[in-house]
């Protein structure tokens, strides 16, 4: 499988309109040699899962700055499970209060990266995921 590339979907669920962080991450992962599918603003959980399924991605990166992470993330994890996509890793970035990080991880989120995260750390985190 030497021609394989890590494929990542970057999406912004919910209604906040700040996509700068998502674009920075998309660019960073590109520079790390990954193929990044950028779906942009205001995606519903259903749209995100459908896109991730068609694109056969290894990782979904969600950027949420609206505070709705505890409402949106469970739905996304649930849909992933329904579609038999438990092998897809989910990471979350954005404004996530420290006390919510464990809650997200308990839902099955692989990693949470708040403001000030080192982009190199995110790259290494994805590269070290068990990608099937």
């Amino acid at each position: 499988m030497d021609n394989r590339k890590i494929r990542v979907l970057i999406a912004k669920p919910g209604l906040d309109g700040h996509d700068r962080g998502a674009k920075v991450i998309a660019r960073t992962l590109r520079d790390a040699g990954m193929e990044v599918i950028y779906t942009g603003l205001r995606q519903t959980p259903e749209m995100i899962i459908e896109a991730a399924s068609q694109e056969d991605v290894d990782v979904i990166g969600l950027s949420i700055l609206s505070g709705a992470h505890l409402a949106l993330t469970p739905r996304i994890m649930e849909l992933l499970h329904e579609k038999g996509m438990d092998d897809v890793a989910v990471i979350v970035g954005g404004i996530i209060p420290p006390e919510d990080v464990e809650k997200l991880k308990a839902m099955g989120v692989a990693g949470v990266f708040g403001p000030g995260s080192d982009t190199g750390e995110i790259v290494r985190f994805i590269q070290n995921l068990e990608i099937v």
Binding site: K5, A26, E35, V36, I37, Y38, E55
Partner: protein, 335 residues
């Protein structure tokens, strides 16, 4: 997912989208499973109508594909879309941003969108794009649409794999000298002048029209020269009288899309009635066969040559003792 390829193929043909996505990955990554996928699916290909959409970056290709798809969906057709974007020549990474502009069709069960990175292939497509088109064809999409990398003047690979090539232009991108240059304009079967609400659209249409009228006879020759090489008995089609239509569109407002779809349909009817379709297909397969033969023979040959031999030959070339052509002859001894 540890399902056998046969199982995945069956599920994909029954409409299971995740299986389809996985088959595409196998083929895109050129794995042994991918070869099996193509082997199993090839007999089921040949039913979809394939449309290539090409043009300079920023002319509105993705929006146009989205709008055209919406049109076909309203008529009850299903559509598979392959959107190709460039890979970085430095890191191999890519940002695939075409799906972002196709959100109005992205939740539709009759539409399947797959983004592909060009992975170092020149010409506007990825190496495996044609094979991915075949997968979408074999699982039953009525239309398979390929959006190329934002094309310059020489990204003409799409014309070799699509039944109808739509060239997307926009006002303000160049004068009538650009229009008479060789290259991308020659591969257009249909031209869409998008963003037709922008100033300068009349000039763009006029320049393109003038070029097409001037170039009609030449086009017949170059059409056959490019797509039909002479030693294939291509001389049999001399009545290529397809006149390239120019359609004004505003994709973001869904304007001119009916006319564009109609232009594609008349090109399709022309290909089928004139018998050109079958001859093009044969040409296309011949070219693919030669390509694959070349790749495989090279791989086989290189297996017989160890790195020391190769280095020796290179050393002799560097020291000017051996010219490149003689070096080839020398290595061919290892066949």
């Amino acid at each position: 997912m540890s399902m056998s390829v046969t199982e995945l193929v069956e599920k994909a043909r029954a409409g299971h989208r995740r299986s389809l996505a996985r088959l595409i990955s196998y083929v895109e990554n050129q794995t042994p499973e991918g070869a099996e996928v193509l082997h199993l699916l090839y007999p089921h290909t040949g039913h979809a109508y394939t449309v290539g959409v090409t043009g300079a970056p920023g002319t509105g290709k993705s929006c146009l594909v989205s709008s055209l798809t919406l049109h076909w969906r309203q008529q009850g057709y299903t559509v598979g879309i392959i959107a190709v974007d460039p890979s970085s020549p430095f890191t191999g990474g890519a940002v695939l941003g075409d799906r972002f502009r196709m959100r109005e069709i992205s939740g539709d069960d009759g539409v399947f969108i797959r983004s592909m990175a060009s992975r170092g292939q020149l010409g506007g497509l990825a190496r495996t794009t044609f094979d991915v088109m075949r997968i979408m064809d074999a699982v039953g999409f009525d239309f398979v649409v390929v959006e190329t990398v934002g094309a310059g003047q020489n990204e003409v690979a799409i014309a070799k794999v699509a039944n109808t090539t739509v060239l997307v232009e926009a006002p303000g991108l160049g004068d009538d000298i650009q229009a008479i240059k060789a290259g991308i304009l020659e591969i257009a079967d249909v031209i869409a002048v998008n963003k037709a609400d922008r100033p300068g659209v009349k000039n763009t249409v006029r320049a393109l029209k003038a070029m097409l009228e001037l170039g009609h006879r030449k086009r017949v020759i170059s059409h056959h020269g490019m797509i039909m090489s002479q030693d294939d008995g291509a001389g049999t089609i001399v009545d290529d009288m397809w006149m390239v239509p120019i359609v004004e569109t505003i994709a973001t407002e869904h304007k001119g899309i009916d006319a564009l779809a109609e232009a594609i349909a008349s090109h399709r009817a022309y290909l089928e009635e004139s018998g050109t379709q079958l001859q093009l297909e044969r040409m296309r397969l011949r070219e693919e066969l030669m390509d694959r033969l070349q790749t495989t023979m090279l791989k086989d040959l290189l297996q017989n040559i160890d790195s020391k031999t190769l280095d020796d030959v290179l050393d002799q070339m560097v020291s000017r003792q051996l010219d490149p052509e003689s070096a080839v002859m020398q290595l061919l001894e290892y066949r």
